[in-house]
């Protein structure tokens, strides 16, 4: 050990000692995280064991990959993966581009009052709780008393019982998602657009550019970094379709298309107490999500220089 490393080490310790307050500030959150987030990450080893509550996590017998094999070989494997992927890709296809369009549109509005009303009303549905949202969907679509079949009926369309139609499930899920969050999701793009230097627009006007041309040549290129960042994040949850809304919209008639990984593992784990099996499904799901996130992030780093980490 050379004299300088000793000096540096001494200096570092001195620095830590002097700034003990900073570590104290992190202590409560660190304890909570270790107990309730990192300990469960360790607890995930029950996916490789025959977990028995009486023997505890460590005391239970090892089971190898038994539970993973059971999931991969069950007919629910393809079913849940396909449903999850389909709903997920459909959701991205609709809820990723629409907020961008909304922001571009909002950026073109010069009537201040109106713009404000427009923004507040399109943000508002974001604050409806999932439970209320699903209650509204079920009530509004009810074939006997729902307002949507009534209005469409007046216009001469018959839609039947959509909630009882398995093929309609993904559409209902995705388009209500759009209704609820499109305004809110546009905020980040609106912020990015408002940061554009007005001189760019002035220069384009001198060149005789129309509003449409300015959108294509200035607005969209300026939004690319924001788009890439948000896109990577979305891809990181490809197999992570929100449990809460799907679970509440499920019924016996649409279950063939609405059983996704998270609802299936909930039912296996907490309703039929197959802890290890359910933990294996959850681990598989999380690992796939994590790998996709890393992959997309690396690809994006290569081709666009934008990445999360």
């Amino acid at each position: 050990m050379t004299r300088t490393t000793v000096a540096v080490r001494k200096h570092t310790w001195e620095h830590i000692r002097r700034n003990w307050g900073l570590y104290l500030l992190m202590l409560p959150a660190a304890v909570i995280f270790i107990c309730f987030t990192y300990l469960p990450m360790y607890g995930v080893i029950i996916a490789f064991k025959d977990f028995k509550p009486a023997s505890g996590i460590w005391g239970s017998q090892w089971a190898g990959l038994k539970y993973f094999e059971r999931y991969f070989n069950s007919y629910m494997f393809t079913n849940t993966i396909m449903n999850t992927l389909f709903i997920s890709l459909y959701t991205i296809a609709a809820t990723f581009p629409l907020p961008i369009l909304l922001a571009l549109m909002c950026n073109q509005m010069y009537a201040k009052r109106f713009k404000k009303v427009f923004q507040v009303s399109t943000y508002l549905p974001h604050f409806i709780s999932t439970v209320v949202m699903c209650g509204m969907i079920i009530m509004f679509l009810s074939p006997s008393s729902g307002v949507i079949p009534k209005i469409l009926g007046m216009m001469g369309f018959q839609i039947g019982d959509l909630m009882g139609n398995a093929d309609a499930f993904s559409g209902i899920y995705v388009w209500t998602e759009v209704w609820q969050h499109v305004g809110w999701d546009s905020i980040m793009y609106i912020a990015a657009l408002s940061a554009i230097d007005p001189q760019l627009y002035e220069a384009a006007e001198v060149d005789g550019a129309s509003k449409w041309q300015k959108i294509l040549a200035i607005d969209i290129p300026m939004l690319v970094p924001t788009m890439v960042t948000l896109f990577i994040l979305r891809c990181g949850s490809l197999l992570g379709v929100g449990f809460e809304k799907v679970y509440l919209l499920q019924n016996d008639l649409n279950i063939a298309k609405s059983e996704i990984i998270s609802t299936y593992l909930y039912k296996m784990g907490l309703k039929s107490n197959q802890y290890s099996y359910s933990a294996a499904i959850g681990l598989f799901n999380n690992v796939v999500n994590f790998v996709i996130l890393i992959l997309v992030n690396q690809i994006s780093k290569k081709i666009s220089d934008t990445s999360l980490f």
């Binding site: 992190m26 107990c35 309730f36 990450m41 073109q108 427009f118 409806i128 008393s145 307002v147 994590f290």
Partner: protein
């Protein structure tokens, strides 16, 4: 001469351009008006349906304004003890949960924002990694149930999930971009320690981020049902959203309210109660939102900055 011709052509150009742009504006404002109506109408419909005669609603006569004004739905809601008990529980969970979230996340964010923190890389990883990977539902349940015995307690609703990586990232970015480094240098020269500096200088300068996190946390608590469904057993401890789930999705309503004989009649009454329950449960957030929306927007924008 040349310059007048140039000016003329520019003027002509300008007029032609503005006509194309006028059509463009017309299209944009038309779409915007339609979207505003689409966003607001479902909520407006719930409101008018909740104060109308349920038979008129069922026949599809209530579309633009209330018909057969009646407060029967709300009268019945007043007698639903479980709904108000849920309301009270939610207020308690939201208050306690929000305070805990502020108390644990903000200090971490401040420490991580300090460039001179030894081990900053490690701690940042420690607090952000769970955003991308987790143990999953079942291992978390087993730890909370078998190790900590927290199932069906008040604590489980406010403490275990109070550290939110995203809140930490957003507040850390706020501290890094809005607190000048010289401030700490100056305080240090005056002999001010880290803790005193955090509580007497940083916090008073950070009301904006405190407001953002508090509002996010409060809305999150108010609207969530998942943790309650997993970790609570006693109906008396249920928060509002879980009670709402039983009313709206599982159609659980006291039979005493359903005095009508025909099934269709019962269904109509049930719908009236549901409309009312939606209004009552959403009212606090919906009425508060327009006044505090600037904080929400601010928060999203701070989050968009790269730290």
């Amino acid at each position: 001469m040349n310059s007048t011709a140039h000016a003329l052509s520019r003027k002509r150009n300008h007029i032609r351009k503005s006509r194309a742009d006028q059509i463009f504006d017309l299209i944009i404002y038309t779409i915007a008006v339609i979207m505003t109506l689409l966003a607001l109408y479902p909520m407006y419909f719930i409101l008018i349906a909740s104060i109308s005669d349920p038979n008129q609603v069922a026949q599809g006569n209530v579309l633009l304004w209330p018909r057969g004004f009646s407060l029967d739905g709300y009268r019945y809601l007043l007698s639903m003890g479980n709904l108000w008990n849920g309301y009270l529980n939610t207020i308690l969970y939201s208050l306690a949960g929000t305070l805990i979230m502020l108390a644990v996340n903000i200090p971490v964010a401040y420490s991580l924002s300090r460039r001179d923190l030894v081990g900053r890389g490690f701690f940042t990883f420690f607090f952000i990694f769970p955003m991308f990977f987790g143990g999953g539902l079942i291992p978390t349940f087993i730890i909370l149930n078998n190790t900590f015995h927290l199932v069906d307690t008040f604590t489980v609703m406010v403490l275990p999930f109070s550290v939110i990586s995203y809140y930490i990232v957003v507040s850390r970015t706020f501290f890094m971009t809005s607190l000048p480094g010289e401030l700490w240098d100056a305080a240090q020269i005056d002999g001010c320690g880290n803790l005193r500096y955090f509580f007497t200088v940083v916090l008073p300068l950070s009301k904006a981020i405190l407001a953002v996190i508090a509002l996010w946390a409060a809305v999150g608590h108010w609207n969530s049902y998942f943790n309650a469904m997993i970790y609570l057993r006693t109906p008396a401890k249920y928060p509002l959203q879980l009670v709402m789930r039983n009313i709206l999705i599982n159609n659980e309503m006291a039979a005493s309210a359903m005095t009508g004989s025909a099934a269709a009649d019962i269904n109509r009454k049930a719908n009236l109660i549901k409309y009312g329950a939606i209004v009552v449960s959403s009212l606090p957030i919906m009425t508060m939102y327009p006044f505090v929306q600037k904080y929400f927007n601010q928060g999203v924008m701070i989050g968009a900055l790269k730290g």
